[in-house]
């Protein structure tokens, strides 16, 4: 599915952000990338869809090498990759529905976009996604009237509107409060699993990563220093990634998480896993 080989990124300032990173995702799993600021997490994610141009190395999405694509083919490749941003990056003045539909821009020609005449299937999918992320009824609300968590949910919907082969998620919860962060992580992971979409997810909150990801990759100073299951993350690994610190409160799943699950009543439109996990 995704195979990154020896990815290197040098910035013009002389900074070598990525030093030969190799990573492969062969099944529809959620891969969380953790690491200190400046480790290269954001650069790595943005190299995959070439929002940042890699200096060398190859990125294979199924049979296509992203790094060698020309402009038009790059656009076609990008529509296969959905991206979710830390700052949501919605078009503030447009409605939720228009923001969702903008996920289909790679598939719909300019004149249809101009006349705002999208295919009926896309509109139905948009409504469905709206429902799945818990924003039913919000289609006509302007994006700038929403809260942070709601905006991120629209961002998730937009990425999934592309029916992507790969999800790239850049610090989705950094601007959100703890409770909303968990809701968002839950939605992302649920929808990724449901649709069988491999996901690369940047996150600095280690407990959140452990709770939700299928696999954890630790990045430090531009190199991968850990790649394995969440429960393999112990204190020595964390020290390797982040440096010396008192890790005793970080390792292991959040207890708060489990408490919250028991107490919350089921809501209509909420994801089924609530009942299943219990």
């Amino acid at each position: 599915m995704l195979k990154i080989t020896d990815l290197v990124k040098d910035y013009p300032t002389g900074l070598r952000a990525l030093r030969g990173v190799s990573l492969s995702v062969d099944e529809p799993q959620v891969v969380a990338i953790i690491g200190p600021s400046g480790a290269g997490k954001s650069t790595l994610i943005r190299c995959v869809n070439r929002l940042v141009e890699p200096s060398s190395g190859s990125i294979m999405l199924d049979d296509t090498d992203i790094t060698t694509l020309g402009r038009r083919e790059l656009r076609r490749a990008r529509r296969r990759m959905g991206m979710i941003f830390q700052e949501y990056n919605l078009v503030e003045r447009l409605t939720v529905m228009e923001n969702l539909l903008s996920g289909r821009l790679g598939y719909v020609g300019f004149w249809r976009t101009f006349r705002r005449h999208y295919p009926p299937d896309d509109i139905r999918t948009a409504y469905e996604l709206l429902d799945r992320v818990g924003l039913q009824g919000y289609e006509n609300t302007r994006a700038d009237a929403l809260s942070g968590g709601q905006r991120q949910r629209v961002g998730i919907g937009r990425a999934l509107m592309q029916r992507p082969d790969l999800l790239l998620v850049d610090e989705p919860t950094a601007s959100l409060d703890p409770k909303t962060s968990r809701q968002i992580m839950r939605i992302i992971v649920e929808l990724a699993h449901e649709s069988g979409t491999p996901t690369l997810l940047n996150i600095h909150d280690v407990p959140l990563a452990q709770s939700y990801a299928d696999r954890i990759v630790g990045l430090a100073a531009g190199e991968i220093v850990f790649d394995g299951k969440p429960d393999a993350l112990n204190e020595s690994v964390l020290t390797e990634i982040y440096g010396e610190e008192d890790w005793s409160t970080t390792v292991g799943q959040d207890d708060e998480e489990d408490e919250g699950r028991k107490d919350r009543p089921a809501r209509r439109g909420d994801l089924e896993s609530e009942a299943a996990a219990g």
Binding site: T95, E98, P120, D121, I123, R124, T125, Y127, E128, S195
Partner: protein, 271 residues
């Protein structure tokens, strides 16, 4: 995602964006109104369409006659430019100075009501009329030449700067003014301590902007005989000396360019 077949029954297949004017009838009404206006205005202008189509040809001829620009009479050009710059400086100076009392009188939180109304009235009237109108009236009274031009520019600068000043004073937080008043300071001291420091930077910035603007405006008042390079330009057009006209125009553009550059530089240093 779920198979499309599932979705068909549950969700609508179309969506319309709520427009600026929500009622669709009013939307069409607004468009119809706009179209009607266009038809009416173009119709009522009594346009000779033959002249319009000829216009492009004539533009070509005109530019042919304008190029190459004729700088041979550069002494006249320089004299005109010099006069314009002097007019701009003199007008800015007096305008800046006079704007202080007028601005103070036009501030609602400082001036007693009748004075405020008179000052504001003056500002409104002088701003309404284009400076060329004011220029031509001055020309009628004082005769041709830069005197009328300087007076016009003084009036224009005055009204612009004093309006800014008055608005700034009105926007001052009343707290700092109250504090100074509470110390028992007399009015002039009050002015210096409470008002001046807060409005000074913008006052200077606006005045410098006005200096640069006056250079631009001095080119225009000349067209009605009020001195400056505008007068030279008007004369050249009247005599069909189009190549000289282009030289003058280029000079004006260069002058404005330099003026803007200079003004931005100084305002940068003020900060």
């Amino acid at each position: 995602m779920s198979a499309p077949a599932d979705l068909q029954d549950r969700w609508p297949a179309t969506w319309k964006r709520p427009g600026l004017i929500s009622n669709p009838l009013m939307q069409r009404g607004a468009v119809a109104l706009a179209v009607l206006y266009l038809l009416w205005s173009i119709g009522s202008l009594e346009i000779e369409w033959s002249r319009v189509s000829q216009g492009f040809e004539r533009a070509g001829t005109l530019f042919g006659r304008m190029l190459p620009p004729d700088f041979s009479r550069w002494e006249l050009l320089l004299k005109g430019v010099g006069e314009s710059i002097q007019m701009a400086f003199a007008a800015s100076f007096f305008g800046m100075a006079l704007a202080i009392p007028v601005g103070l009188c036009a501030a609602r939180n400082l001036a007693p009501r009748p004075i405020y109304l008179i000052a504001r009235g003056f500002i409104v009237i002088t701003r309404t009329f284009h400076e060329v109108i004011i220029a031509i009236i001055f020309v009628k009274i004082f005769g041709f030449g830069p005197l009328a031009g300087v007076l016009t520019l003084i009036v224009a600068s005055l009204s612009f700067i004093s309006k800014m000043l008055a608005e700034d004073i009105e926007n001052l937080p009343s707290g700092s003014m109250e504090a100074i008043r509470a110390t028992g300071a007399s009015f002039p001291k009050f002015l210096i301590y409470a008002i001046t420091p807060q409005i000074l930077p913008r006052y200077l910035g606006v005045s410098i902007y006005r200096l640069d603007a006056n250079i631009r405006h001095s080119t225009v008042v000349g067209i009605v005989g009020a001195g400056g390079i505008g007068q030279v330009l008007q004369a050249s057009f009247n005599r069909y000396d189009y190549d000289f006209s282009l030289a003058i125009l280029l000079t004006i553009v260069a002058l404005v360019f330099i003026g803007e550059f200079f003004s931005a530089w100084i305002r940068g240093k003020l900060r």
